[in-house]
Amino acid sequence: MDAPAAPAVPPPSPPASLGRLPVAVGVLAFATVLLVGLGAGTFYPFGRFDFFVTGPQTQASLLVLVDAAGTAHDLDAYRSLACDGPLRELVHACPRQPDVTQVVRDDDALARLERAGTPAAGGEPVQLVRRRWRVTDLPGPPPHDDCQICRCRAER
């Protein structure tokens, strides 16, 4: 009587033959990047990303549209928009924080404003402003001021 054939056992896959070795390498890589980054600070591709701690982070600003009732709206709240004057010059005349994020956000906002269609008839009057906040240690909404940029007509 023939012995039953042993079931075919699939060979271990290449990664399986390594056991826990890759995990050990991963943990070593974790520790090395963490400690080198802590020691070296920002040095590509190491970066502490601690600008929340040391950055220009008590001020913020945003381009917004303020309606007749004084309520601020995002630029996307309106479908079409027509503003008085050369938009880019007027926006740049209202100072912003000197960091590249603000520059990029300004450019994006301007592109959105320039892409917006013209209101068909009339539209509601709104004011384009740069709203600037100054965060203090006090609870409650941080105080802000508005740098007036130009008047616009907008349609939702």
């Binding site: 400690l35 502490r48 913020a60 450019d107």
Partner: protein
């Protein structure tokens, strides 16, 4: 092993391709953003930076980096091509870093993953004698995942070791949130924004939770399940930033998704990516032990070297900060930069006070060394005019506070550029 990686026994070649593509995309996108920000750029600081910023050299570096990343993705000498691409991107980043004051996570995360991948291949050469093939790439995957986790944990550890940083982080998070977007009154986004911005106690709790979450990144390379859970948490946080307009769907987002989810198993359901079947012999234990020992030595030596290089030797002897006494190239009273005159320079506490003057304006900066927090303004408050406009900014890796005449933001912008031009790259 199959239980520890979401990719199981599948080939890591698609992961390598994704890593190469994401690095190429992140580099090109990062450069575009930095070039867009040239309006706030500091001038060239060193001959090397000046050279690298020339269009011809920068263009050549971009082409070289893209070509090397394409070869890496293709699997052609991945250790050499991946390392070469990293060097090319690092040079570009060094040249353009002065154009932006902040490292870009969408560029750094793919970069550190590529570094981890290459380090894993190097380990594969030492332990297995191979830098290509399934076994080497399985190690490279974990090495890359560990490197990504290390970078994700770094902000948390950095905040933990810096005294007073929690307080700064609270106001930073509040200011980021308030300036993130304008929500319609009564909307969910508006209520969430107000909850964080208006309540410093809640923001403090959130920042502490965020630090704990960042430090928990150590679980990312350990197990398939922990990678899935932690990676999903990271993506959820990124999604939250996305909802508040603080980021876009970028290379970092895609990279975390690439390493977190079992894409081969998902693809297999639709008929692609068969599992690997070959079974090479287990590696020689003695060779693996030697390689591990070497890796541990590197893991200890590199951080020690980084700490030594970044430490100011004069600080230990109580001498003023390095940038105050670095020789004739350092900033002196009477120096002129971009039409501004350095009317006064003096060491103060952990930093240095610089008073910049031009006929129509006067701005006083208090600059502290990297890793320090400019929590106060000890440079004769009111010296720039009374009442004053005050704020904070960064100069490369240095933090500064400033005071200027009220409403004169344009002067602050200009004086910052003048200071950064003399400051960045000359301070050591």
């Amino acid at each position: 092993m199959t239980a520890t990686s979401p990719w199981g026994t599948a080939s890591r070649a698609p992961m390598r391709v994704g890593l190469g593509l994401l690095n190429a995309f992140a580099m090109l996108h990062g450069i575009a953003v930095l070039m867009q920000g040239t309006a706030v750029a500091a001038g060239p600081t060193t001959p090397l930076v000046h050279l690298l910023r020339s269009p011809v050299v920068a263009g050549a570096l971009v082409v070289l980096a893209v070509a090397l990343l394409a070869l890496f993705a293709w699997g052609r000498r991945p250790l050499a091509t991946g390392s070469g691409a990293l060097v090319a991107v690092a040079l570009l980043q060094h040249a353009l870093a002065g154009l932006d004051s902040r490292p870009d996570e969408s560029l750094y995360l793919p970069g550190v993953a590529l570094l981890g991948w290459c380090a894993g291949l190097l380990f594969g050469r030492a332990a297995l004698g191979e830098t290509t093939g399934p076994r080497a790439e399985a190690i490279a995957e974990f090495s890359a995942a560990g490197a990504v986790a290390g970078l994700l944990a770094l902000p948390g550890l950095s905040q933990l070791v810096q005294p007073g940083s929690h307080h700064a982080a609270v106001n930073a998070l509040r200011s980021v949130m308030v300036g993130a977007a304008t929500f319609e009154p009564g909307s969910l986004g508006g209520r969430l924004q107000a909850a964080v911005v208006d309540d410093p106690a809640l923001t403090l709790t959130l920042t502490r939770l965020l630090v704990a979450f960042q430090l928990a990144a150590v679980v990312y390379p350990l197990q398939r399940r922990t990678r899935l859970v932690y990676g999903t948490g990271v993506l959820a946080l990124m999604g939250l930033e996305l909802a508040f307009g603080l980021r876009s769907v970028d290379a970092a987002f895609a990279l975390v998704a690439l390493f977190t989810y079992p894409w081969p198993a998902l693809a297999r359901r639709f008929g692609g990516l068969p599992a690997l079947a070959s079974a090479p012999a287990a590696p020689d234990p003695r060779r693996v032990r030697r390689a591990l020992l070497g890796a541990v030595v590197v893991a200890v030596t590199l951080p020690a070297a980084a700490f030594r290089l970044s430490r100011d030797p004069k600080a230990e002897t109580g001498a003023p900060p390095a940038f105050a006494t670095s020789g004739p190239e350092s900033i002196h009273r009477g120096d002129v930069s971009f039409g501004w005159t350095f009317a006064a320079t003096r060491p103060e506490g952990a930093g240095f006070c610089f008073t910049l003057e031009r006929p129509d304006a006067r701005v006083v900066f208090y600059v502290v060394e990297p890793g320090q927090v400019a929590a106060t303004f000890p440079c004769a408050p009111g010296d720039a005019g009374t009442p004053t406009m005050a704020g904070q900014l960064v100069l490369g890796t240095y933090a500064a506070r400033y005071e200027a005449s009220p409403g004169d933001q344009a002067a602050v912008d200009a004086a910052r550029a003048a200071l950064a031009d003399r400051f960045t790259g000359q301070v050591r």
